[in-house]
Symmetry: C2
Subunit: 362 residues, 2 copies
């Protein structure tokens, strides 16, 4: 049974929400934020003991493949699957499903993010192992996270009736998915105790997800079927390119999960999970000093400075702060970002502005 369990790491994102540290050429999964390893390396290491290296696949884009391979040289090169262009997570899942179906029609695939933070690795493996078992029974399983505060930056999953215990883990039917809520909705969902954060990680049998594509996303399914019929032939690449160019970008959540049958959620608690989606989110997962500050690298002197993040990766350079609080300061040498902590999500607007005005630094 275990022989059919595969991990698929989505590592093609060009996320700019940690700009100016994350760039087009160095997206979040390639950053070392918490220790000397990159988030991608940590993601792969986290699977130790659960999946052998040959059953860990990575879906990415050509521009990132070389660097990702270099970061995890123990992964077989043929396990890196290249999307011709980013088309949203639905197409990533579809492409991985096609690749796995060709290799092992009985495959159960865990779709994993490459750029998240998880504190408790052991517990994560336990939950993931349980999710694989639940998926074997035909469920589309979502890895949920028990909310610890009324986050507005995450999607939520409402739990329905219990599906019972798988070992010591209780599984629930999914009632509905709710995209990023406003503040009062988030508070209500936290209070209800029957909502989990959507971690963006899913587990299912390959044939089950292909069924759902066929029913809910027939255009994508038709392309996937065409690609599948040429898989492992001389025309694989040509057909992939051709079909991909016609795809409409879509997320797996909106394209499949919201309308899917037989969806289960595992509301994991104590994972210590964060999507590291903004600079502010680092305060959820990094221990602050006695003044509430996070200081990452570099020379600095902080006078009357509180609840701020200071990141500096330049030598021969010093940051001095006086009388500030709740600031994000990120200095990458070519860019200095000074941002109010509660407006860290606006970094995306800045990147959009730089793109539109054809400026570098992105």
């Amino acid at each position: 049974m275990l022989d059919h369990y595969y991990a698929v790491i989505m590592a093609g994102g060009g996320g700019t929400r940690l700009w100016p540290l994350s760039r087009k050429s160095r997206p979040k999964q390639m950053l070392s934020l918490f220790d000397e390893r990159t988030l991608f390396q940590t993601t792969v290491e986290r699977l130790n003991g659960l999946f052998p290296q040959e059953r860990i696949l990575v879906v990415t884009v050509a521009e990132q493949a070389k660097e990702l391979q270099a970061q995890c040289p123990s992964l077989p090169v043929e396990n890196f699957i290249l999307e011709p262009a980013p088309r949203g997570t639905a197409s990533v899942v579809g492409l991985a499903a096609v690749a796995l179906a060709a290799r092992d029609p009985q495959a159960v695939m865990a779709i994993l993010t490459s750029d998240h933070y998880i504190a408790d690795q052991e517990y994560y493996r336990h939950i993931l192992r349980t999710a694989l078992d639940v998926a074997m029974d035909g469920y589309l399983v979502t890895l949920g996270v028990k909310p610890t505060y009324p986050a507005t930056g995450y999607g939520y999953i409402q739990q329905g009736e219990s599906l019972g215990m798988y070992g010591d883990v209780e599984i629930f039917h999914v009632l509905r998915f709710k995209e990023k809520p406003d503040d009062s909705q988030a508070k209500a969902m936290l209070a209800s105790k029957d909502h989990a954060w959507n971690s963006g990680m899913f587990v299912w049998r390959v044939e089950r997800i292909l069924e759902e594509f066929e029913r809910q996303m027939p255009a994508l399914y038709a392309s996937l079927a065409e690609i599948r019929s040429y898989w492992d032939t001389a025309q694989q690449s040509e057909i992939l390119q051709k079909e991909w160019s016609g795809l409409k970008p879509e997320t797996i959540d909106y394209g499949v999960m919201e309308g899917a049958r037989q969806v289960a959620v595992i509301p994991a608690s104590n994972l210590g999970w964060s999507d590291v989606g903004t600079w502010e989110s680092l305060f959820e997962v990094i221990q602050t000093d006695q003044d509430g500050n996070i200081v990452m690298g570099g020379q600095y002197y902080c006078l009357d400075t509180k609840d701020s993040l200071i990141y500096l990766n330049q030598e021969h350079r010093m940051i001095v702060t006086i009388g500030v609080s709740d600031l994000i300061l990120v200095d990458t040498g070519d860019v200095l970002l000074v941002c109010s902590k509660d407006q860290a999500q606006k970094v995306r607007q800045v990147v959009e502005h730089l793109k539109k005005t054809n400026q570098s630094y992105i």
Copy 2:
């Protein structure tokens, strides 16, 4: 009469209050803050038409002399008088008085700062010319500035009875000097309408100020007398060094002005004066943009940014601010200062810390 009028520019200060832009090797008077000229160059140009170049003296220290001469090559080299070491403004005045007494016993000297901002040059020359005339009559004249807000960073001068008009300018006796007040004292002095800010600029006859040194600072006077007796001899430098090493640092305000006889003040209004004593003070003299910001040089993108100062003198580097207000951001390449506007005076503490811990960047 005009032939006896001299300007003495005090340009030896190592002020670090505009750190990290001002440094030990590049003090405030050498900075170009308002246009392409340095504050020292502007100070000299401001005297055009009032003093010929040969009657403009500069008192400085050896480390700064070369750079200052380069900035104002039209000033005669022999007009740069070198203090062996900084010993406060009293000794600067004393040394200049000795140098002038040797040259012209009837000299009237205007003691001028080299690193202040003055908006109205024409009016300044008019006030200074008037002060020289008042000084001819034996007064120690202080250039006062009518307060426009309850500043706590300036010293104050209380006006007594009127000495009458010199042309269209009314002159007053000085009742007392008051060092930097607290907030409520400053408000009371502003409301009283009989206090002026002490600009740190003074005008007097050389022999009058030497009399005051003799009466109030006999130790300094003895040294000055010794130096005077060897002035323009082969031993001038040796004696100057010897006497200077024994001097106790003192300001002219505390050492002489507070206890002096026959002190007058001209309370100038509309000079547009600032001592440029902190980064915050730039908001008094530089026009802000529609968001209340002052942006000096460099590439920047400001989103929801208000009432802040951004200084960047590096190429190939960009500052981005999001959702901040009342911040001072100064980027000199090797140092980045991020400071709450109302705590700009604490920059001095940082420089003290760097000195104590033997760090560079000062």
